[in-house]
Subunit: 167 residues, 2 copies
């Protein structure tokens, strides 16, 4: 039995906001660049609509935040399983009744369940912070994402070409 | 009207795998560290169960990969809206019928829809690669995630204390 942990990454608006302020290049595929410093008019990055005050980086960080909470729950659960079966059972029962989609909501609810649950929640919060700041390999994340992008694009094109080429 | 884009981050197994191989510290909250080099016995990181051959970094990269695809669709859609209404309409119609949860599947389906859709898919693949490798601010992601962790933990504890303290 598994509990599905789905995280809402974002909402895709059907109606996109007003045109970007970057100067337009009238090529077939114009690159609109967004500026990382809004007060300057350097349009050196592609314009990403629909994030308002936030940024794609903040959105991605929010999802990683929930992911770190999920990881912390796994770490603490594995620890408890080996030395505190009762607390492990309580954590499993709590997981049955509460979603991990929103990590902060999960911890907030757990803190209010009982004093034993409160200690568990504090432990999860401690572990998720330590994991994010010390254990998670940020350079590896970037390296793997770059490779995944190159490999996926190559694979998609290769498969399409092999399907559509005459035998 | 909005299309919900939910990305399955991971599955939480109820039954955790065997105990970690790191040496145990019999404190109340033992830190089990995982080794980044499995062939050596340095347990300098917390043990994260349930990822098998993969790693949390690879899991996070996979989710970012789908996120970059989603961002690329937004970028291309905004571009088309300003200079190619017909292609924009086709993209919107395709989005109505296909989920963005799996970016590669989305592109694979789009390439096979029609020759015009194929060009759109190639553009999305080009943009997602450029966005991942040039525009996305990886340092900012890490900085925001660190701050979010500290702020969230402080907020959770502060709210709990203020709720449970006598007035």
């Amino acid at each position: 039995m598994e509990a599905s942990v789905t995280l809402a990454l974002s909402q895709l608006p059907y109606v996109y906001p007003a045109k970007p302020s970057c100067s337009k290049a009238y090529t077939f595929w114009p690159y609109k660049r967004r500026s990382s410093q809004p007060t300057r008019l350097h349009c050196n990055k592609m314009y990403v609509p629909g994030f308002g005050e936030a940024s794609p980086e903040a959105k991605a960080a929010k999802n990683l935040h929930n992911f770190f909470n999920y990881i912390a729950v796994k770490i603490v659960s594995a620890q408890l399983q080996s030395y505190n079966r009762e607390a492990h059972k309580e954590l499993m029962e709590f997981l049955d009744r509460h979603s991990l989609n929103d990590g902060d909501k999960f911890c907030a609810n757990m803190m209010r369940e009982s004093s034993r649950h409160k200690n568990l929640a504090l432990r999860i919060m401690e572990v998720r912070s330590a994991y994010c700041k010390e254990d998670f390999e940020w350079d590896s994340l970037k390296r793997v994402a770059f490779k995944m992008m190159t490999d996926s694009n190559t694979k998609l094109m290769r498969e399409y070409v092999s399907e559509t080429s005459p035998q």
